[in-house]
């Protein structure tokens, strides 16, 4: 049976892969099929891809400036032609501000993930592999942070560090890593006594090499799922901080801060506060759907529930 007679699908799904690449591609294909079979997950993925594209091409997409409005003639216009989502109290086009705000949202999410996930991964894998007192100490610290209410702790940190989007990101990252450490530790415990780890150890690999090269890569997929599921919570926390005036500061078009500034007009010009909320809702929903779909696709055991 030569390759020419196989369709691409058969080549991917063969149970006798000829190369490592073929096996990997095959696995990825099966995961992809499982993922796309769930239409809600696909919707989530499309929303997040939309968010990324909007953030990338914000200057091309936004019809008006996000910062400079027409104070004289265009204050608090209702949604309609010209300004699809209306204008705010400074005559700025709300749609344009939302489009630029997507950059801030993406920035928060990415930075928190980039800071918190490696910390959690490192703490968890080291604790799990080392065991003994180091494990006990690291996990105790993790549990202490887990015992905190996230938003309240983030509030306290930002209160001390001072308001601003950078400090909000740091505060959220500080409160986000413990679940990742728990997951990484659990994964580490399941593989630390396996034969291939013993084999690597016998070949003289140092503990750091084992943790970095042989254990961490195995934790990545469950970590990605968890981080994706947490993204919605991160966005909501950031928006909450923005709403309380502790996150991004005006005139930055951060969605939570936009809701806060529209709050004064909620009774008569509802759209000023309502529109940014829809943006937050759609994006968090996208991340939740995507995370759910990823979990089901990557972990077939859990998908039955």
């Amino acid at each position: 049976m030569s390759q020419a007679t196989m369709t691409r699908r058969e080549w991917l799904l063969t149970d006798r892969p000829q190369s490592r690449l073929q096996a990997r591609l095959g696995r990825a294909y099966v995961t992809w099929r499982r993922f796309t079979a769930n239409w809600l997950a696909v919707v989530g993925m499309l929303i997040i891809m939309g968010l990324i594209l909007i953030a990338l091409f914000a200057p091309l997409l936004a019809p008006y400036s996000p910062y400079i409005g027409d104070l004289a003639g265009k204050r608090l216009l209702p949604p309609g032609a010209g300004h699809w989502l209306g204008t705010d109290d400074q005559g700025r086009d709300i749609l344009s501000r939302l489009i630029y705000g997507s950059r801030l949202t993406l920035q928060v999410v990415v930075l928190v993930a980039v800071i918190a996930a490696p910390i959690g991964l490192l703490v968890g894998t080291v604790a799990g592999y080392a065991g003994g007192w180091l494990d006990a100490v690291l996990m105790r610290i993790t549990d202490i942070f887990l015992a905190f209410p996230k938003l309240v702790l983030a509030l306290a940190f930002v209160a001390a560090l001072g308001p601003g989007i950078g400090n909000a990101i740091i505060a959220i990252a500080i409160t986000s890593w413990p679940p990742y450490a728990r997951i990484a530790r659990a994964e580490t415990l399941t593989v630390r006594n396996s034969d291939y780890i013993s084999a690597v150890r016998l070949m003289g690999a140092s503990p750091w090499r084992i943790v970095l090269r042989h254990i961490m890569p195995l934790c990545i997929s469950s970590l990605i799922v968890r981080v994706t599921l947490d993204m919605a919570g991160i966005i909501l926390t950031a928006a909450g901080l923005g709403f309380l005036g502790l996150g991004a500061q005006p005139p930055l078009p951060e969605w939570g801060a936009m809701i806060a500034s529209g709050r004064r007009f909620i009774l008569d010009q509802w759209w000023v506060a309502a529109m940014p909320g829809f943006a937050i809702l759609i994006v968090s929903l996208g991340f939740n759907l995507l995370g759910d779909g990823l979990r089901d696709a990557l972990d077939p055991r859990g998908s039955s529930q």
Partner: protein, 354 residues
């Protein structure tokens, strides 16, 4: 199991005393270190991070000798570890310092505002459980159906919606446009002075006072924020109920009950849900803790005079003692609820007893 337990209580007790003592000691150690960690973090935030607590009290125009005196009075010239010991001692005695904003001891303020938050979170949890459990059961029984999908999407939206925004919209629609509920606040000014709080839970107080007009007013104030928090916990409770019920419904005792010819209603509500109820208690306790946190934003939107509003007001005025005091209280309640749900789980589930 139950018959052997009643036959040999003494022997079992003596055999089990040691492990129980050991696990109690372990529990105490865990709670103590967690609490100490909580205090270490708040201490770190309050002292090491650069807002000068002295300037916060005396103001930045105070003469140098006053600043120095206050610094010594507050023990800020001591090494950090001594400061920390003093801090822990103070907190354990309920001393969180004085609020700059209200000039009261922080503990007095918290005692005043905390019942409002408890009442709101309790009402929210009741609403969340009352709707979340049936919805979760429905989703599990009709798995894969339209109803299941709707419950799932309802839950996902609950996870995804900014609660403060939903609160603003709810106020706009149900208070301003439709006039179905009362607006922000906890009780109308009309009743504020004639009403005498007994427990601090206004709904219960109104019943005790037999003040039905006030009861109606308080109810129409609490219903909107409580429903909002309820929706928040409904999302979590319905999802967990569904998953626990699916687990129970696939067990063999359900097949046995069906074979016996029990009605489907009995099987679902009498057998499966009763067993699913054990882990559900933990979930409800945890969602209660989550609502205490959710109350920070909800109270801000609804001007609900609870701990959340107290913390955010203090934040806006850089009143760090009050912020950290509130953080410690919410953290303590978190730890207590986690512990409580753990103990409850062990009591309710016989399998965890060895």
């Amino acid at each position: 199991m139950s018959s052997t337990e009643t036959q040999m209580p003494a022997r079992r007790a003596s055999r089990r005393a040691l492990p129980i003592l050991k696990s109690v000691a372990g529990f105490v150690a865990i709670v103590a270190t967690t609490y100490l960690g909580l205090l270490a973090v708040t201490f770190f935030i309050g002292r090491v991070v650069p807002i000068d607590p002295v300037l916060a009290i005396v103001g930045d125009r105070a003469p140098a000798h006053v600043v120095e005196r206050v610094r010594q009075e507050m023990g800020l010239n001591l090494p950090y570890y001594q400061q920390f010991v003093l801090y822990v001692k103070g907190v354990l005695q309920g001393d969180f310092g004085t609020s700059v904003l209200t000039t009261n001891p922080v503990m007095t303020d918290i005692r005043r505002v905390f019942p409002a938050t408890m009442e709101l979170a309790t009402a929210g949890t009741i609403i969340g459980a009352a709707f979340g459990i049936p919805l979760g059961v429905l989703a599990a029984v009709k798995r894969g159906s339209i109803a299941d999908q709707i419950v799932r999407i309802l839950g996902l939206i609950g996870y995804s919606v900014p609660i403060f925004w939903l609160g603003l919209l709810a106020l706009l629609v149900f208070y301003a446009r439709l006039g179905w509920t009362s607006g922000p606040g906890r009780i109308d000014v009309v009743y504020e002075y004639s009403f005498t709080p007994v427990t601090g839970f206004y709904l219960i107080d109104a019943v005790i006072n037999r003040d039905w007009a006030a009861f109606r007013d308080i109810f129409s104030h609490i219903i909107l924020p409580a429903s909002l928090l309820g929706y928040f916990s409904l999302a979590y409770i319905s999802r967990m109920t569904r998953s626990f019920m699916l687990n129970e419904l696939s067990q063999e005792y359900i097949v046995a009950a069906r074979a016996k010819g029990l009605s489907e209603t009995r099987i679902i509500w009498g057998h499966a849900l009763r067993n699913a109820a054990v882990p559900l208690v933990t979930v409800i306790a945890l969602s209660y803790a989550g609502l205490l946190e959710g109350s920070v934003l909800t109270e801000t939107v609804f001007a609900w005079p609870g701990l959340g509003l107290y913390i955010t007001n203090s934040l806006q005025n850089a009143d760090m003692n009050a912020v950290l005091g509130g953080t410690i209280i919410i953290g303590s309640v978190f730890i207590a609820i986690n512990l409580f749900s753990d103990v409850l789980y062990r009591m309710l589930d016989p399998r965890t007893r060895n």
